[in-house]
């Protein structure tokens, strides 16, 4: 057991690091570009040199690299201050890409995948609906056949990047008379199509990372279908498995180190709070969880390193991480006492930003990508193999399933 690279890994790491250091864009190269453009410039540069989406086949813009090499490249890139395109591209590259890889025909793969890798085209994902939520397959946006096209009406929600995306992957209900999972079909759509309207959703943190997307008689050619009609749920599982692998534990800026630093700065009964044993006990318990997540990730990496794929046990990262971070942020605000109420990004980061921003942002993380409750279900059912809840909607035509409406 060690934390060291194997010989092959070390060689790859050196190669990656060398390339990254030599090619990390200079301020000259980036002059005049905004954040988005900087990210895309860097992505293009990586793609041109074969360092984009390196797990993908070379023929589709990748490098035929292993999962472990992908992780090593990410680690090395994270050590440098490179422009960040991840936030714009992770859905396309992390979810749409693998889905196209599995389900698209060769022509479409050649048409779309290299552009996904290079950032030339941006993709978004349109699965969730207002009536869906945790019950993802309960979606209602319908597609009705019309010649060689489908006509789409309905509403999607929680679509990040809808406004700057070129393409979207989506699941639609093509048959409400059969059981919930059976009546779905999977498509991709040009996000500039007539009839698509995008409205940002403001979150309680004040930012708008997601959108509502309304479809009014939007026309999608049948050639943009992935999988058979009625096979949409199966196709979407490909997407979702990759979503889960992407979300991960999410390192938070509110963590043991930042909370300990705060506890060194404020006092309790006139002494540094870090000397107060109630503070120490809480910090220690959180450290144990944080370390547990970190070393669980190391174990997953070791499995990757051997060629195994990470399993559903990765659900614990988000579950434990989000609820812990919420409690830590709340506790940090308590340590700040009355002034903890202040949230001002122009002021002292430790007093008026970090913990408040996290306090307001974290409820979203406990929900996005599967609520705490869904994560616990996944662990219970897929890891521990416990039986599912009785399904009230089993075998029932979708249109007959009770909705409370």
């Amino acid at each position: 057991m060690d934390f060291e690279d194997s010989k092959e890994e070390a060689a790859f790491r050196a190669e990656a690091r060398d390339w990254l250091i030599s090619n990390n864009p200079t301020e000259e190269e980036l002059a005049g570009l905004d954040e988005f453009q900087r990210g895309m410039f860097w992505q293009k540069k990586k793609a041109d040199a074969g360092w984009a989406c390196i797990r993908w086949p070379k023929v589709y813009g990748g490098r035929d690299a292993t999962e472990m090499q992908h992780v090593i490249f990410q680690q090395e890139e994270a050590k440098l201050d490179t422009p960040n395109a991840h936030q714009y591209l992770h859905i396309g590259q992390g979810m749409a890409g693998p889905t196209l890889m599995t389900w698209a025909n060769d022509a479409d793969k050649e048409r779309f995948l290299p552009d996904l890798a290079s950032g030339a085209k941006i993709w978004c994902q349109l699965f969730s609906e207002p009536a869906g939520g945790s019950d993802l397959a309960a979606l209602r946006t319908k597609a009705e056949p019309d010649g060689d096209d489908w006509i789409v009406n309905g509403q999607k929600i929680w679509t990040s990047g809808a406004h700057y995306s070129d393409w979207g992957i989506l699941v639609l209900r093509t048959d409400p008379t059969v059981a919930k999972h059976k009546g779905l079909t999977y498509f991709y759509v040009d996000m500039k199509s007539a009839g698509i309207e995008i409205k940002p959703i403001k979150q309680i943190s004040g930012t708008s990372e997601f959108n509502e997307v309304y479809f009014t008689n939007v026309r999608i050619p049948d050639s943009q279908r992935l999988g058979e009609v009625g096979q949409g749920w199966q196709v979407s599982l490909t997407t979702l498995m990759n979503e889960r692998a992407n979300i991960g534990s999410g390192n938070s800026a509110v963590n043991f180190d930042s909370l300990k630093a705060l506890a060194q700065r404020v006092t309790i009964n006139g002494k540094p709070a870090i000397e107060d044993s109630a503070v120490r006990a809480k910090l220690a318990s959180w450290y144990v969880e944080e370390a547990g997540l970190k070393f669980t990730a190391q174990r997953s990496l070791s499995a990757l390193s051997k060629g195994d794929l990470p399993g559903p046990e990765n659900s614990i990262g988000k579950l434990v991480g989000a609820r812990k971070t919420q409690d830590m942020a709340a506790f940090a605000i308590d340590l700040l006492e009355q002034q903890g109420v202040e949230w001002d990004e122009a002021k002292d980061e430790f007093v008026s930003q970090l913990f408040q921003q996290t306090y307001m942002g974290i409820p979203g993380l406990r929900i996005a990508g599967g609520t705490d409750e869904i994560m616990a279900n996944i662990i219970a059912e897929r890891v521990l193999q416990l039986p599912q809840e009785p399904r009230m909607d089993k075998g029932m035509a979708f249109s007959d399933v009770p909705t409370g409406a």
């Binding site: 309790i268 202040e342 307001m360």
Partner: protein, 371 residues
């Protein structure tokens, strides 16, 4: 044995609830949260007319001389409505401080105006992040003029009279002072916070005229007394918010369907809401104890205050965060009302000392209560 509010008191609560149901719907909270008002002035006038600001002020000072039971019930309803008002800072803090230790002249000057809601008060002690400590107070007084900076004062940009903790005139520890903000020697700056439906301000005093409030050198003790009393009332306001959060979560869990049945039929949700109910019920019972101790000035007050305060802080945090969770994605949107209670739960939880600080006080108080 009658550990319950009497009928007149329950009538006060029912009227308060009815009034706020009509006049302080969440649209009012949203208006203040999103807008440029420091507080809901129209609502403030109405509740002042109803006498809420005068509740425990004796009749000789223009109040209506009701007990703390009535005030506790009003606090609960304001909490339930998440009212965007400087009620807590003016009534639980400033009014209480003047009532407790003000001179006859000070009472005659300020209480009638506070009772009528014409004047809004607050109490300022914090000077920076973390706990306040008597030896660290940098607010000083010389020649009847007070100088210093107070941070994150609740209702700080609304109040026109402020109880200010400063160093004693005679190097005798700390003292409490009364300062009117009408002077240009007092500068207030509203700050950005996690709960914009309440006003918080930094306040700078530069040789502002001040009067001693209570005895010189007694500032810290006065502060602790006021905080003990206010903690009970905050606990009631927090309880109201926790109850609203549970009610919202319950209603949504009945309306929202997943997998062909209301989400309220899943044990994950049922047990979450049961836990909210448990926490709220215990918090309510402890708040009763607090109200009893406050209204009878019992020697158990410090213990009862800590108990009520901790119970309500825990209950409100849990209920407000799990209310969002029960709502799922929609609960995290700006458009939904869950956010008001989540913000408010934290703002109130640190208003008169964090849960952590009250845990320490509780153990101290348990020694005294046992003695």
């Amino acid at each position: 044995m009658n550990f319950e509010f009497n009928e007149e008191q329950q009538l006060v609560r029912d009227q308060a609830r009815g009034f706020l149901n009509t006049n302080c719907q969440t649209s009012v909270v949203r208006r203040v949260l999103e807008g440029n008002e420091l507080y809901a002035q129209d609502l403030w006038k109405q509740i002042a007319e109803l006498g809420w600001t005068a509740t425990t002020i004796p009749e000789e000072y223009g109040g209506i001389g009701l007990s703390y039971f009535e005030l506790a019930l009003i606090a609960e309803e304001l909490g339930r409505a998440c009212a965007p008002l400087p009620f807590a800072s003016s009534v639980y803090l400033a009014t209480e401080a003047i009532l407790s230790v003000g001179s006859e002249a000070q009472k005659l000057e300020w209480l009638p105006k506070l009772a009528a809601g014409e004047v809004i008060g607050t109490l300022a002690y914090s000077e920076g992040p973390g706990e306040a400590r008597p030896e660290k107070i940098n607010t000083t007084v010389s020649n009847g003029s007070l100088s210093g900076v107070k941070r994150a004062v609740p209702g700080g940009d609304i109040a026109s009279v402020i109880c200010v903790l400063g160093q004693s005139l005679q190097g005798n520890g700390t003292s409490m002072y009364l300062v009117s903000t009408e002077s240009d020697r007092v500068t207030t700056n509203t700050i950005k916070t996690i709960d914009p439906s309440l006003n918080y301000a930094d306040i700078s005093f530069e040789n502002a005229h001040c009067e001693l409030l209570g005895e010189d050198g007694n500032g810290w003790e006065i502060l602790q007394q006021v905080l003990d009393r206010a903690a009970v009332l905050y606990a009631w306001e927090q309880l109201g918010g926790a109850e609203s959060s549970l009610e919202m979560a319950r209603n949504y869990s009945l309306e929202r369907y997943a997998f062909g049945r209301p989400i309220g039929s899943f044990q994950a949700i049922k047990h979450k809401l049961a836990e909210m109910f448990v926490k709220n019920t215990l918090a309510r019972s402890n708040a009763y104890y607090g109200a009893w101790a406050l209204s009878t000035n019992a020697k158990e007050l410090p213990l009862a205050a800590a108990t009520a305060r901790i119970g309500s802080s825990q209950a409100y945090y849990y209920a407000s965060k799990e209310n969002i969770q029960t709502h799922g994605g929609m609960g995290y949107t700006w458009e939904f009302d869950c956010q008001f209670f989540y913000r408010r739960s934290k703002a109130l939880a640190i208003a008169v000392g964090s849960e952590r600080s009250w845990q320490d006080k509780l153990i101290n108080a348990s020694d005294i209560a046992a003695a």
